[in-house]
């Protein structure tokens, strides 16, 4: 391999050739970036909360798993196309609206059922809230100091941002943010588990490792986290150090598991914004006409991309009639198949397709 690379190429990609792989490069820059942020946030490493040291190591292991999983995934031809074109179209006006819709209020899940939407909002936003509190604390991007008695100074990225009363409402909300998120997650997970027990289809299809394990892990984290509060408030800290280790263990196991199971859809989901942009943008540009009936059914760009992706996979749908199957609209493609089966040119008959919806 080495001998085939010309010297000109080597100098051109000097940064890339410093790393053994894409994975190594991403890992290196992320860790360096993280170290710099911690350096700034902790005022030159003077405010690290060593109680949370385990979470820090867990996060770095998680980042390793994350890059391993997602670089492999991003190398798949169709994924590569969507990521590349999605990034190019990221600054469309509608991106914000689509992103809020897909990633914050989950409108499309509401259409799949209110119950599922509610459980998803509770779990999703519970986790987001918990992450927003936990990670800044773990990396000391946010911490509290008390200069004046009775007042906390909130320090964010090394800057004194706000002074709050120690028994005020903002302070109360920050002390209890993780309790609130734990209650949200527990409620959502219980709803999900109930659905998985009652819904016959879910029961038929679910697998323990894929569908139930992530729910149990979230429950494990939330319950042990909430128990910490119970031990502090009602039991004078009885067995609190032990429970805090158990809680830490539950979080780290979940972080390591996250890129490989069902929870992988969390970092993966922004792709749906890319996909929507991709369809809308190229749809406005130039629509493809069906080779048989002339209806516009998809953008030219997407049709070509799909043909190319299938070529890479050594799947070629070039017909003797002189078209690729991806150039036919869906009803015509189905009729074309019937014509292949029967020998009668069904797709050429100018006749609207019969109703295909069983509910009329």
């Amino acid at each position: 391999m080495q001998s085939t690379i010309s010297p000109a190429n080597q100098t051109e990609h000097s940064i890339n050739s410093a790393f053994a792989s894409h994975f190594a490069k991403s890992m290196f820059f992320t860790i360096v970036g993280l170290a710099i942020l911690v350096f700034i946030g902790t005022r030159m490493f003077s405010h690290i909360d060593l109680n949370l040291y385990g979470y820090m190591v867990g996060t770095i292991v998680f980042i390793g798993g994350f890059f391993y999983r997602f670089i492999a995934w991003g190398e798949r031809p169709p994924t590569k196309i969507i990521i590349k074109k999605g990034l190019k179209l990221l600054f469309r006006k509608k991106t914000v609206k689509t992103a809020v819709n897909h990633l914050a209020i989950y409108d499309f899940i509401k259409k799949r059922g209110f119950y599922r939407w509610l459980q998803h909002v509770l779990i999703g936003w519970g986790c987001i809230l918990a992450c927003l509190v936990t990670f800044p604390l773990v990396f000391s991007w946010m911490y509290f100091t008390m200069a004046d008695n009775g007042y906390y100074t909130v320090v964010v990225m090394g800057m004194d941002v706000i002074k709050v009363k120690a028994d005020g409402i903002i302070a109360w909300l920050s002390y209890n943010a993780l309790n609130i998120s734990a209650i949200m997650v527990i409620t959502g997970v219980c709803m999900a588990l109930y659905r998985r027990m009652k819904n016959m289809q879910a029961r038929a299809e679910q697998k323990f490792i894929y569908d139930l394990l992530p729910l149990y892990l979230l429950l494990f984290i939330s319950v042990t986290g909430l128990l910490l509060t119970v031990q502090n408030v009602f039991l004078a800290g009885f067995l609190q150090p032990q429970m805090s280790l158990i809680h830490q263990f539950s979080v780290i196991v979940t972080l390591i598991y996250l890129p490989f199971g069902k929870l992988a859809h969390i970092p993966f989901r922004p792709m749906s914004v890319f996909a929507r942009n991709y369809r809308e943008h190229y749809g406005e540009q130039h629509m493809k006409e069906c080779k048989v009936c002339g209806n516009h059914f998809v953008s030219v760009e997407q049709s070509n991309d799909v043909i190319q992706v299938l070529d890479v996979n050594d799947i070629h749908f070039n017909m003797e009639d002189g078209f690729n199957l991806a150039e036919l609209c869906l009803p015509c493609r189905r009729k074309y198949r019937i014509s292949r089966f029967s020998g009668i040119p069904t797709h050429q008959v100018k006749h609207k397709e019969a109703n295909q919806n069983a509910r009329g």
């Binding site: 798949r76 897909h102 859809h265 996979n313 029967s342 069904t346 008959v349």
Partner: protein, 186 residues
């Protein structure tokens, strides 16, 4: 004993029971995922069913950027995983038979999953279990081979799916000899 869905196309009488049965399968949420087409609509009443043929190398799954379309160990190509499907509709463009349907409201693709909750335990899919004319059958490979022997016309015009499909499929199709001007020996 592994059984397959086997289509004997010219038996179809166009009753559309398979469409109705499809809506009643547990995970199908009242939406049918199969089709019944008129073969020569302005001339005669012959119909044929069309459903996912469950390709061995499925173009829909290969073109999915999110790896949402999984292939079950029985060979069934499953409907998109709800948490993974990103709504790009590549699968609908890739499928050589035009099978996957897309729900724009739910931003979700859905397609025939061969009633996986039934077929994984060897129970025939809904469409097969209601078909009154034996167009759809649930057979072992030996039984399909026996059909092959029975209908072998020794003129290269019979059954095998391959030259009429785009690749090997898990569903086997018996091509309609009657429509091709070849009488079958029933």
């Amino acid at each position: 004993m592994k059984k397959r869905l086997y289509l004997e196309l010219e038996n179809c009488i166009g009753c559309r029971s398979c469409l109705a049965a499809c809506t009643q399968c547990g995970g199908h949420e009242q939406r049918n995922r199969n089709y019944v087409y008129d073969v020569n609509p302005l001339v005669n009443r012959q119909t044929m069913p069309l459903m996912c043929l469950h390709c061995v190398n499925p173009a829909c799954a290969r073109s999915c950027p999110a790896q949402a379309i999984q292939i079950h160990e029985t060979g069934a190509v499953l409907s998109a995983l709800v948490e993974k499907c990103i709504g790009c509709q590549n699968c609908t463009i890739a499928c050589p038979y035009g099978i996957p349907k897309f729900d724009t409201e739910q931003n979700l693709m859905y397609k025939c999953d061969l009633c996986i909750d039934r077929t994984k335990d060897g129970i025939p899919p809904m469409c097969e279990s209601v078909c009154p004319s034996n167009t759809l059958q649930w057979l072992t490979d030996e039984e399909i081979e026996a059909k092959n022997q029975q209908f072998n016309l020794d003129n290269g015009k019979w059954v095998t799916s391959m030259p009429y499909l785009e690749g090997e499929t898990n569903v086997r199709v018996n091509l309609p000899g009657i429509l091709q001007g070849v009488t079958k020996l029933f």
